[in-house]
């Protein structure tokens, strides 16, 4: 099948398959406000520092929330000893 036979113009081929299109589809597919808000933040990180920045941001967010839970557990255990 040639490109002409496939009936796909250059524009369409890239438009319907590149990351911009996929991210746009994702944005439409997100249902909850929380996930839309987080995705906006992810996109912002991606614009400023790429996928690596997203990973850094999410890892730090995960680490923070895990640490807070662990700190809370430790604090609770210490309060039991008193």
């Amino acid at each position: 099948m040639t490109i002409e036979e496939a009936g796909i113009s250059n524009d369409n081929l890239f438009k319907d398959c590149d990351s911009t299109y996929v991210f746009d589809q994702l944005r439409r597919g997100l249902e909850s406000g929380g996930s839309r808000s987080l995705w906006r933040r992810i996109e912002s990180e991606m614009r400023s520092g790429g996928v690596g920045a997203v990973e850094t941001y999410l890892r730090s967010t995960f680490t923070e929330v895990v640490q807070r839970a662990k700190d809370s557990a430790i604090h609770f255990q210490e309060s039991l000893k008193e």
Binding site: D18, V22, S32
Partner: protein
């Protein structure tokens, strides 16, 4: 098609692969076709270009050095023409060095970093023969990839999708890490809950154990305030008994401890007092008993002595003839004196008799009276005769008196001795009586009879028994107090258990709630990220699935043109589940065996496999929408990768690629390629470089035509 920013204009090579002395090959036009026999040095030029840009990371770099040129430099310099002038990329491997070093200089001769010029320099295709080298323009967030040989990475790169699988992979890894962290926190919370439940169970057990025999007896369960009032009241009672006081600030526990101490002290004091009194009574009774025995003994001794004295006095009177002993002594002295006198007279008479006999004296030697010798002798003889019996009688009397005196003295001494003993017994008795008076505190001795003393002894024993009973009674009280203290403590323990039970229940529910809330927040964040990842994955898979059928068709088209493959003429791109959710794999098949797909490496020869890996490049050559920094297609011996029997098809694809890329093609099939070149490339756009000979010590000989 937009042109690349940089165009390769020359390569100066020294000591690299087939090159020894420094030589420069120039590319004055856009494309270059290098023709020559095998082993004439063509490949070394393509290798040199690749090495200059990438080095050799997978193998020791010493391998690139020409073994016939050991002491010279191993160096390649590329001249790259840009709008602002000529740039130079130079890579050198110093003799003895393990790793090469690259330097890039701008048209002003200033050294710049590779990351500044070619931040996204990449290559793709098979390792040998054909190299596609490009450097994309800077795109924010795009990851530099030195080698994108993996098929799916190549496709995603061309489709401008690489960010998505990269993000998905990172989200996957992050979620995996987060799952592990979440499990750790969940386990920690679960451990805390278990520990609290254990403690709660222990408190329940203690409480149930205490309630089996409640310290408040049959009464209803007291409140804490009621228990504390009871304790306060009991302690105050104890304080009164011991003349002590307890401060209002003392806790119930402290107050009970204080009461227990007082109780102990009271019991100890009573016991000590009783024991002291008992001891006193006991000692008094023993002393009284001993003194009583002493009196009895003294009286007995005194009576015996008196009796013996009476008997001795009679014997003494008999020995002294009824006279006093002194008179017997006087008489004895008198007789002794008479005896001395008589002895003296007799001795004198006997001396006189001897004198008269010896000297025939006629005069008395004593009175000097005149006698005849015979008279004198007769007189003296008479005196001696007269004196001798008298003296014998005196001696006898003296002997008798002496014997009696001796006996009387002995008796008298014994009597005296007995009298002393009687006196001593009397004194002992008096002393004992005096001591008893003192012991019994009786002032008048005459009032103290033996019966009185016996009565006192009996009273002492009775008092001892009373004291023993009192002691037992005190200990009984002490035991009761202690029991009361223990009961009150039991009540406090009950309140303690119940308070702890309530506290543990609170900790298990409300106390742990902030931690649980943070855990829920953590899970919610994880779920949100997971939901984003799943939605992204879905959007990505849908996009990829939509593009796969036309892409497979286009790849089949190009693949057939390049290889003329007769057995497996179809190319399919499949999304493979299981290996990686974003992994794409290329498969080949045939119209003759529909619905069957094969791994190209299992069914295709090396040439077709190499061509297949280049197919995406040629397919997307038609869609290159953006200008690149560098766009080089280096083909070393096209017959290694392509079907050259249909050279027109290959040249058509190369011409398509050449519309945006700079081609450098090296081949020994000059007779098949050269006549067709002008049909596909404008003559002004390509250069033919002819390789003539190859000398291992001098390197290749070549010339531009």
């Amino acid at each position: 098609m937009p042109a690349a920013k940089f165009q390769l204009r020359s390569a100066t090579i020294e000591g690299f692969k087939g090159f020894t002395l420094k030589q420069t090959v120039t590319f004055p036009r856009k494309h270059a076709f290098l023709f020559g026999k095998n082993y004439s040095g063509k490949s070394s030029i393509l290798e040199a270009i690749r090495w200059c840009l990438f080095g050799l990371r997978e193998r020791p770099e010493r391998e690139v050095r020409n073994t016939y040129y050991p002491l010279g430099e191993c160096q390649v310099t590329l001249e790259l023409k840009a709008l602002d002038g000529m740039w130079h990329v130079q890579r050198g491997l110093r003799p003895g060095a393990d790793r090469s070093r690259v330097t890039i200089t701008n048209p002003n001769g200033q050294e710049v970093l590779q990351s500044q010029v070619f931040p996204y320099l990449a290559r793709m295709g098979p390792k040998e023969g054909t190299h596609i080298i490009f450097a994309a323009q800077q795109a924010s967030g795009q990851r530099p990839q030195a080698d994108i040989s993996d098929f799916h990475k190549v496709l995603y790169s061309y489709l401008h999708l690489e960010e998505v699988p990269d993000l998905l992979e990172r989200l996957d890894n992050l979620l995996e890490e987060q799952r592990s962290a979440r499990e750790d926190v969940a386990s920690e919370i679960s451990d805390i809950e278990e520990s609290l439940r254990d403690k709660l169970n222990r408190e329940d057990l203690s409480l149930n154990e205490l309630l089996r025999n409640p310290p408040w007896g049959e009464s209803s369960i007291p409140t804490r305030a009621e228990s504390e009032t009871k304790i306060r009241s009991f302690v105050e009672q104890m304080a009164k008994l011991t003349n002590r006081s307890i401060g209002p600030e003392a806790s119930p526990q402290e107050a009970l401890e204080q009461a227990e101490q007082w109780c102990q002290e009271l019991a100890n004091a009573s016991r000590e007092e009783m024991e002291r009194k008992l001891n006193e009574q006991w000692n008094k009774a023993i002393a009284l008993n001993n003194l009583l025995q002493n009196i009895q003994q003294a009286e007995k001794s005194q009576a015996e002595a008196q009796e013996n004295i009476g008997r001795l006095e009679k014997e003494l009177a008999s020995a002294c003839d009824g006279q006093p002993l002194e008179e017997l002594e006087i008489k004895l002295e008198l007789v002794r004196n008479q005896m001395v006198e008589s002895n003296a007279k007799l001795a004198i008479a006997k001396q006189a008799e001897k004198y008269c006999k010896d000297y025939s004296a006629e005069e008395c030697p004593v009175c000097l009276a005149k006698y005849t010798a015979d008279d004198l002798a007769g007189k003296i003889g008479y005196s001696i005769e007269q004196a001798t019996p008298q003296e014998a009688a005196l001696a006898k009397e003296l002997e008798d008196l002496q014997a009696r005196s001796k006996r009387a003295s002995e008796l008298d001494n014994k009597r005296r001795e007995l009298a002393c003993r009687a006196q001593s017994a009397q004194e002992e008795r008096s002393s004992a009586i005096s001591q008893i008076c003192s012991l019994l505190e009786v002032s008048n001795v005459s009032l103290l009879s033996e019966q009185d003393i016996e009565a006192h002894l009996a009273a002492l024993k009775s008092s001892e028994e009373t004291l023993r009973n009192s002691l037992r009674s005190t200990e009984s009280f002490s035991t009761q107090w202690r029991k009361r203290i223990e009961d009150l403590r039991g009540e406090l323990r009950f309140h303690g258990y119940r308070d702890k039970q309530q506290r543990l229940q609170w900790q298990l529910t409300s106390g742990l709630e902030p931690t649980r809330e943070l855990f829920r927040e953590m899970v919610e964040l994880e779920n949100t990220v997971c939901s984003i990842k799943e939605t992204l994955e879905q959007a990505f898979n849908e996009a990829v699935k939509r593009v796969l059928p036309p892409l497979s068709g286009m790849m089949t088209d190009v693949y057939c043109r390049l290889t003329g493959q007769p057995s497996f003429e179809k190319v399919y791109i499949q999304s493979v589940d299981g290996l990686s959710s974003q992994s794409l794999q290329v498969r080949v098949g045939s119209e003759r065996i529909p619905d069957q797909f094969f791994n190209p490496e299992d069914v295709l020869n090396g040439q077709a496999n190499s061509a297949l890996r280049l197919v995406p490049y040629f397919v997307f050559s038609r869609f290159q929408a953006e200008a690149l920094e560098l766009d080089l297609l280096l083909i070393d011996d096209p017959s290694q990768s392509f079907d050259t029997s249909h050279v027109e098809l290959l040249l058509q694809e190369l011409a398509n690629a050449g519309s945006h890329a700079q081609l450098i093609v090296a081949t020994h099939e000059e007779e098949r390629f050269r006549p067709k070149l002008s049909q596909y490339f404008p003559t002004s756009e390509y250069e033919v470089i002819k390789f003539m000979e190859f000398d291992p010590e001098k390197g290749p000989s070549f010339a531009n035509e």
